[in-house]
């Protein structure tokens, strides 16, 4: 299916993006962006959220069409605005959000949209598809029951099926959009190995990620976008964290300062009364006798593999899910199982894993989202007070510097970082004394990430007890005073934040015991 | 939001202010003509359509009558009341109603009379004080008994055996009133009423129920199909079961609708009265009433081609139910 390139000087050039423009309504998402991707190279694409990365991917995969400019692949123009066409031209993509069909099995998930035909193209070649699917997953080193609906498989396996789907078409350019965003550290490593394998097969990879360490691990070249404009392309050797971040945010950003403030040893935490006390918390088949406590002003990090049960524990504590045994105690008050209202009442707040569906009411305005968690505090005699509502929204927007032109705009128009700030702000308004953060910086750009980190630390210094779940070990290490590692629903190990190392955490997460 | 609140308020106020001009209702149609409304139980079924043709005939004959024929397509008595109320506002002259549930429409009818509109009931009577005259072709008793008598005649006077009734909905007022009349009549006869089915106004269900009844009651001698769908449904079932003649089917229907079943002997007799005459007479009565030619004391009325018609009290008598069979069905 691939158009074989005649031997020319441009033989090593695979894709040329030439003065691409794309605007949504008034907003210029891409402004004459041009760069090139060579054969068999891993080309990282960096930029803050809203820099235009996703738009570029949409163009390359034919989901949308550019306003002007050209996309050239193998000296042939790419069929713009035509998904199948782009696939035929040899472009495959692994999307950020899981693009799996929860109700379909692995086979259908891999082949839907370009099924193998039989009987003159009318019927499906089911056996052939089954065989090929099995082979593909074989290559990925995954053994998945091909018959069960994907929704019943763990997240990592779903990701692998999406991977298989992407690889099933003989592609020359493989676009990976945040492939590790929802994976645990060890699964991410596996993913990166796959990237190298593909590279060896001579497949070019356009790698989009917020995780700098990954980029430095796999990428050959890095292209940086900012505010829809092309900034620069560098060989990865001539870059380091700071330089890259600088390119992305366009200004000096001293992460070290954050680090320093963060990793200051907190000596007095032992005397502090514990805000949260979890005792023998168990839920059949999900997590078993989890016991720990968090003191006021303490940040406890929770590490572990995806599916180890971290989010489930958090949800149980907050009352989203109910639990079978054990107790959750906040400031000496024992909470009933499965009552968010109660948890909220005693000053608990939770920033959930899935910002889009659990954290925010996307079509609602920023203001209404910011006041959703404490509407009761904003009423006089049962009526919501418009003025106080507006006031609170204004205050929070200022405090967290949420970038929004008008608080009455739907929150879905905001960038990921700003959305996350809204979620946090919504809870700060209710004056909590215990904050649960589940993947607080997933899909958040570097600048916003630093802001969020600083914010978490500041809150802790003001006496907030914090439980932070993260799959980014660096994040855990930089922020946490204490670190709990969850392995298969149990607390496998506990570390001091100041002294712990990535290796220790990884070991505990994988093996289930401290080294 | 305060702005939007003001917007909402504005909306409402302007709406209300515009919604109504103080001014009394005017009549529909032109003034010199007499507006007569004919309100059937259900619009769109052959029975009442044929009444309508009769009414049109009379209207044409009498000349200066504007005839309005309208009614609920689903036979909802509530909508009958709403139509009457609509006509009260329109200020029509006479309302002739076939009440599907006398009580439901009673209040509306009373209000119509208070508004100076003549109200006549036909086909079925309403609450007495709600109308001035009832064009009476049959009371529930006479209909119920009539059907049972026909059945006994068809089955054979001293024949024993089972009969079943296939009605409409469990809540349909008319059918229930007929059933009340039929039960004692069946009691007196040698026949035994096995059960009553309620397929609703659904032809498929009626057919299905009849089929099952035939299978379940081997000694079944007759089926009463007492709704516009259950009568043909029952007949069809008997015919398909090849039991035409063995199992007698009878009920209430426009003879022409049942012709084919009468011809092949599935149905011996169809109980009905001349619906065209019913419509015709109703309009005659309306006209006479409007012109004051008809008063409570009258004992007879000259009704065009029907000649002198008896009046007992406030009942205009069209004559009792008729029985159609092979011999006279074509004369309908």
């Amino acid at each position: 299916m691939m158009i074989h390139s005649q031997a020319t000087q441009s033989d090593r050039l695979l894709l040329r993006i030439d003065r691409i423009n794309k605007a949504y309504g008034g907003v210029q998402a891409l402004q004459d962006v041009s760069f090139e991707v060579g054969r068999g190279e891993v080309h990282a694409l960096c930029g803050e959220n809203g820099a235009g990365k996703s738009t570029l991917i949409k163009l390359l995969t034919g989901v949308t069409r550019p306003d002007s400019g050209s996309l050239v692949m193998n000296q042939g123009a790419l069929p713009v605005g035509n998904v199948r066409g782009c696939e035929a031209a040899g472009i495959a993509v692994l999307h950020q959000e899981s693009t799996a069909f929860p109700d379909l099995n692995a086979i259908d998930n891999i082949f839907v949209g370009r099924e193998l035909r039989a009987a003159g193209g009318f019927l499906l070649a089911r056996d052939a598809m089954r065989r090929e699917a099995a082979e593909l997953l074989e290559q990925l080193g995954e053994s998945i029951d091909l018959t069960v609906p994907l929704g019943q498989l763990p997240l990592a396996q779903r990701q692998m099926v999406s991977m298989a789907r992407a690889m099933s078409c003989q592609c020359q350019l493989f676009i990976m959009d945040e492939p590790t965003a929802s994976l645990s550290a060890q699964e991410s490593q596996k993913m990166l190995m796959l990237v190298n394998q593909l590279k060896e097969q001579g497949i070019s990879i356009l790698y989009v990620s917020h995780r700098l360490e990954e980029i430095f691990q796999v990428a050959d070249a890095v292209t940086v976008l900012r505010d829809g404009q092309y900034v620069a392309t560098h060989a990865v050797e001539d870059l380091d964290d700071r330089k890259l971040i600088q390119l992305m945010v366009g200004r000096e950003l001293d992460e070290l300062t954050v680090r320093q403030t963060i990793s200051q040893p907190k000596s007095d935490e032992t005397q502090k009364p514990s805000t949260l006390k979890v005792d023998q918390l168990s839920r059949q088949g999900i997590f078993q006798d989890v016991s720990f406590s968090i003191a006021a002003g303490e940040i406890v990090g929770m590490a572990g593999l995806v599916g180890a049960g971290r989010s489930e524990i958090a949800r149980a504590i907050f009352g989203i899910d109910s639990y079978d045994e054990g107790t959750v105690e906040v400031n000496g008050e024992i909470l009933p199982s499965g009552s968010v209202a109660r948890a909220k009442h005693v000053g608990m707040a939770m920033v959930p894993e899935d910002r889009q569906h659990e954290g925010l009411v996307l079509p609602m305005s920023v203001q209404n989202n910011l006041t959703l968690a404490n509407l009761r505090d904003l009423q006089d005699f049962g009526w919501l007070s418009q003025t106080r509502e507006r006031g609170q929204a204004k205050r929070l927007i200022a405090d967290l510097d949420i970038r929004v032109t008008d608080p009455r705009l739907p929150v879905e128009t905001l960038s990921g970082g700003n959305q996350q700030k809204v979620v946090i702000g919504k809870w700060l308004a209710s004056m909590p004394n215990l904050l649960i953060l589940d993947e607080p910086t997933r899909g958040v750009d570097v600048a916003a990430k630093a802001q969020v980190h600083r914010l978490i630390r500041e809150l802790a210094d003001e006496g907030m007890a914090t439980l932070m779940i993260s799959s980014e070990l660096s994040e855990i290490l930089t922020l946490s005073d204490r670190i709990l590692v969850i392995h298969q629903g149990r607390i496998a190990a506990e570390f001091e934040g100041a002294t712990a190392t990535q290796e220790q955490l990884l070991h505990a997460a994988l093996v289930g015991s401290a080294p | 939001m305060t702005r939007s609140a003001r917007f909402m308020l504005l909306l409402l106020i302007s709406l209300i202010s515009l919604g109504c001009r103080t001014e009394s209702g005017t009549n529909v149609g032109d003034q010199d003509k007499l507006t007569v409304c004919l309100l059937p139980k259900i619009k769109g079924i052959p029975y009442f359509t044929s009444c309508h043709t009769g009414a049109q005939e009379a209207a044409a004959e009498l000349g200066d009558i504007e005839l309005i024929y309208d009614g609920p397509i689903d036979g909802d008595p509530k909508e009958q009341a709403e139509l009457i109320e609509q006509w009260i506002v329109d200020g029509v002259d006479v309302i002739c109603i076939a009440p599907n549930a006398p009580l439901v429409v009673a209040n509306a009818m009373k209000e119509a009379r208070d508004a100076g509109i003549h109200v006549v009931t036909w086909d079925a009577d309403g609450v007495p004080e709600s109308r001035s005259f009832f064009v009476n072709q049959a009371t529930p008793e006479s209909i119920g008994r009539g059907m049972v008598d026909v059945m006994i005649a068809d089955v054979g006077p001293d024949q024993e055996g089972d009969v079943v009734i296939i009605s409409s909905d469990a809540t349909s007022a008319n059918q229930n009133s007929w059933i009340d009349a039929m039960k004692p009549a069946i009691e007196e006869s040698k026949l035994t009423l096995q059960t009553i089915k309620y397929p609703g106004e659904n032809a498929a269900n009626a057919l299905a129920d009849a089929q099952d009844l035939i299978k379940v009651y081997p000694n079944l001698k007759g089926i009463f199909g007492i709704s516009s769908v259950s009568f043909p449904g029952a007949a069809e079932a008997v015919r398909q079961a090849g039991k035409s003649g063995e199992i007698k089917v009878t009920g209430l229907a426009v003879p022409s609708e049942m012709k084919s079943y009468v011809d092949d002997g599935t149905v011996n007799s169809v109980v009905l009265w001349n619906t065209k005459d019913l419509g015709y007479l109703t309009v005659q009565v309306a006209k006479a009433l409007a012109e004051g030619r008809l008063t409570d004391s009258d004992t007879s009325l000259n009704a065009g081609r029907l000649g002198e018609i008896q009046i007992e009290g406030d009942n205009v008598l069209l004559g009792d139910v008729m029985v159609f069979n092979k011999d006279n069905i074509d004369s309908f």
């Binding site: 008034g26 209202a341 948890a343 | 909402m8 001009r21 009580l103």
Partner: protein, 321 residues
């Protein structure tokens, strides 16, 4: 993003369209059949409205919260039977009325409990109770109708104060209360949130289940209230009360601009929708005197009104971002 503020905040297009349609209709009607807009006539015929109108209020809330209640019509049947039976037993109107309301509340509670506790789809639950309620009503009453509740009771529905029928006052009071509740109370706001995203609402500590149960119970209660008016108006309590009402009510609410997917809608819109349908039926009935046309016109009206709105919205969306 950088759209003009006016557009960003003005979200009452549908109400505006409806209002335009209504004015147009009234004008046309008065032009084609003079005397249509007579105050006396309008007020007199407004009695066709109240029973639906009252149920439309709770239906609006439920649909905004992303649910639906197909069982209201059948619930009315059950309430009517409860009314009749208790009256026959006790002869006391107050008791009968209480029984009627109670039945409605219990029916609604049943729906709500199934939907909230068992996480069943409202469409499924109420489809089941749609059949079950009506069936129970027929079984209990054996299809018979109850009546003779006394003239004073039947007066309730037709008596007027300052020319406006009493049920009208009841409706407008309820409408204003529900409207304010929806627009200006924490719970009201929460209902919108639930409609957009129940998960997000839960994660904000809103007790979604309690609100849902509350809404369906309220719907049942209003069904009971509507039944009282219905019975008083027609002097009859029977199992077939309110047959087919659910569709008429939903139609009115949707024409009123409430999104069937939840999250959007206002009481003002619903009131406008009710009026629009009411006036349309009235005009068609008065002008053509053909009952079939009513259902045709209302059906088309339903589709067209939403179509217009959709076109409007998409226009707006292309203008903004």
């Amino acid at each position: 993003m950088n759209q003009p503020r006016a557009v960003a905040q003005f979200n009452y297009w549908h109400e505006l369209v409806l209002f335009g349609l209504l004015i147009g209709l009234l004008g046309l009607a008065e032009y084609l059949s003079p005397g249509f807009l007579s105050l006396r006539g309008q007020l007199y015929l407004s009695r066709h409205l109240w029973v639906f109108a009252i149920m439309a209020l709770s239906m609006t809330l439920i649909i905004i919260a992303g649910g639906i209640d197909l069982s209201v019509g059948s619930a009315m049947g059950l309430c009517a039977v409860a009314f009749g039976v208790t009256f026959e037993m006790t002869g006391q109107l107050p008791i009968a009325i209480i029984a009627c309301l109670l039945t409605g509340v219990l029916g609604g509670l049943f729906n709500g409990a199934l939907i909230a506790r068992f996480k069943l789809h409202p469409l499924i639950v109420t489809l089941a109770t749609y059949a079950a309620f009506r069936g129970m009503a027929e079984g209990i009453s054996q299809g018979e109708s109850y009546s003779q509740f006394g003239d004073r009771f039947s007066e309730l529905s037709r008596a007027t104060l300052l020319g406006i029928p009493l049920p009208g006052y009841l409706f407008f009071v309820l409408a204003v209360l529900v409207g304010l509740f929806l627009w200006r109370t924490p719970t009201g706001r929460s209902i919108y949130a639930i409609g957009h995203s129940a998960e997000a609402a839960r994660f904000s500590g809103i007790s979604v289940n309690r609100i849902r149960i509350g809404l369906y119970t309220f719907s049942g209660f209003l069904a009971g209230l509507a039944t009282v008016i219905y019975v008083s108006r027609f002097d009859t309590a029977k199992a077939d009360a309110g047959r087919g009402f659910e569709l008429d009510v939903i139609t009115a609410v949707v024409v009123g601009g409430t999104s069937i997917f939840g999250g959007r809608g206002t009481i003002v819109g619903t009131v406008l929708g009710l009026l629009l349908i009411h006036e349309t039926r009235q005009f068609v009935g008065r002008y053509w005197q053909v009952d079939e046309l009513k259902s045709i016109v209302v059906g088309v009206l339903l589709i067209v009104s939403v179509l217009i709105y959709q076109l409007l919205v998409r226009q707006r969306e292309t203008r903004s971002h």
